[in-house]
Symmetry: C2
Subunit: 350 residues, 2 copies
């Protein structure tokens, strides 16, 4: 018959899949009762709704159940008290996750102007990078007008572990975090003055367990105020993709963002013109429905190459509304991503 | 021969066209010299670049020149010192203009979402109201991404008088003030944290000499942060026009703005859907290039009527880029303005 000592010895070989430390090391084992080949194990999870609790339970059942003399394994899950958690992890501090995160390149997608398609460009870049097998995250820094969750079809809840908030995973494995995922209703307004907006962004950076990423794309809101300032000054941004639309009016406002980037010394790696034209499905003719392009003004001011001119495509709009941005196929995207990766190459993986 | 006393007596009947007080009352007359029918008058302007200095000079020439025995009038203009100005007007205080302004109705044009055409809707409403002979002002509350000056083709400088900053006048007489008109270059970024943004908006309200207006339209930036909060809480806003676009994504973010308006108890007077469709010039066929409309979601949440569905029209984009928004003719506008005026009617003029 199996002994309690043998069971504990086995539990010492089962790791918490998030923390990569054994269940005994994490002081999670609360009780082990053995009788007639039936083993009852009580484990205290580090957080009540540990996202990996099912996996932990399955690992325990499988490994203990494989022991000689064990016919049945019952697992009861409880949660640690705050004191127990502190004893293991210390006081949780703001930005706890940062020490565990390894983000290779951070690129902000910016415009200054609203409604030009920053979120679409962010999502298209993320999707294309993920298709290449790269590990990609998207941080939605638009706190009051977030588009990212809807584009990727993601909904709350967001779960958290001892390392911080867990980003949601998109259908193709992109890690996504947005303040909108932390709200009860998606159309709930965030009526905050600027300093809180800035703080929310640093939290989405420092309190989210991004783990290892090749690229983290930060989708900025319009304007050159708090959100842009905090992102460009507090996050280790390696470069900026500047998004514009054909109108001269948009170009003027985007050039404000270009000047801001230059003032805070963050390089602009390229310009993307969105909504450049519409191809009439009946005639195949291109219509410059927002007028002739003024993106050369942005390119000149930015001193950065034009990465792409993207059309207006009702199919794209429909896929975005359905949360299927990862299914978008635009012939302009591969070239855009190629230039992007050349401008901010990831380091060689170890 | 005319005497100095007679000339001074005559100057006591000439009013400063802005302040409606006589030149002698304002202590503007610095010197009067008379010799051989030639009258030399030196006037100290209340501010160095008084926008009405030409008119003052012309009035003086005309009226003094009409006196018997006067063959020539020479006018020399200087400016008051700060001390002289203070002796007449007292210390200038923040919001000096408010006590002189009589604004009947203040309506904010809002969206939450960027790039939906808030500024276009603002300009179209202003133009249509001005065409009806109403006195209209436009306050551009988008400090970091201002579109209004370019739409109306307005450029700096903004001049100021003792009552405050003078709004610029558009081609059809709309009074316009935007923070962008106070910048040296139009693509200069305003890299400010939120509290300064809020303060800039209260200044555009309180430090601008709007004089008498039937309607002041406030063009809000995207988001539900500082600019929207300050405008809806610090300005006497009578109602909101909510602007949306067909996409479901836009609708979600616009509903955030609707909820914000409801929280701060400002009535939404109507919803305008912009970029609803594009009519192909070759086939005359309507294309819903941003997908089918979701504006009913906004209308339902807002509990306010749909004022208009505006198309995407390259002619409109071109006129906007040329600063000719007042020349835009859209068949949807008259109905929109009719409903607008019914929702927020001006008081009967005295």
């Amino acid at each position: 018959m199996v002994s309690k000592h043998q069971v504990l010895n086995m539990l010492a070989h089962i790791e918490d899949p998030e923390l990569h430390r054994s269940l005994t090391d994490l002081n999670m084992v609360r009780d082990v009762q053995i009788g007639d080949g039936v083993v009852d194990i009580t484990l205290a999870l580090t957080v009540p709704n540990c996202p990996l609790k099912d996996q932990i339970e399955a690992d325990v059942r499988k490994i203990v159940g494989a022991m000689l003399g064990v016919s049945q394994v019952n697992v009861t899950l409880t949660a640690m008290t705050d004191e127990e958690r502190k004893a293991i992890f210390g006081e949780p501090t703001e930005g706890t996750a940062t020490q565990y995160n390894k983000v290779d390149r951070v690129v902000a997608v910016m415009s200054g102007k609203g409604g030009v398609g920053k979120s679409l460009v962010t999502a298209l870049l993320a999707t294309a990078l993920a298709r290449q097998g790269l590990r990609v995250g998207v941080l939605d820094a638009d706190i009051t007008g977030p588009s990212i969750p809807k584009l990727f079809g993601l909904r709350p809840p967001v779960r958290s572990g001892p390392m911080g908030l867990w980003p949601l995973q998109s259908q193709t494995g992109i890690k996504v975090m947005s303040f909108n995922l932390l709200l009860e209703y998606d159309d709930q307004p965030v009526i905050w003055r600027g300093p809180l907006i800035g703080r929310a962004i640093t939290q989405l950076w420092g309190d989210v367990f991004w783990d290892e990423l090749d690229y983290l794309l930060v989708d900025l809101p319009p304007g050159t105020a708090d959100a842009a300032l905090t992102t460009l000054q507090s996050l280790p941004v390696n470069g900026i993709v500047m998004v514009t639309t054909p109108q001269s009016l948009a170009s003027m406002i985007v050039r404000k963002a270009v000047h801001m980037a230059q003032m805070v010394n963050v390089p602009i790696i390229g310009v993307v013109e969105n909504m450049a034209y519409f191809v009439c499905p009946d005639t195949g003719k291109r219509h410059e429905i927002f007028g002739p392009s003024h993106c050369h003004e942005v390119v000149l001011t930015a001193g950065a190459p034009l990465l792409a001119q993207l059309p207006i495509d009702p199919t794209v709009a429909a896929l975005c509304d359905e949360g299927q941005v990862e299914a978008v196929e635009l012939p302009e995207v591969p070239e855009m991503v190629k230039a992007f990766v050349q401008a901010v190459p990831v380091k060689k993986r170890e």
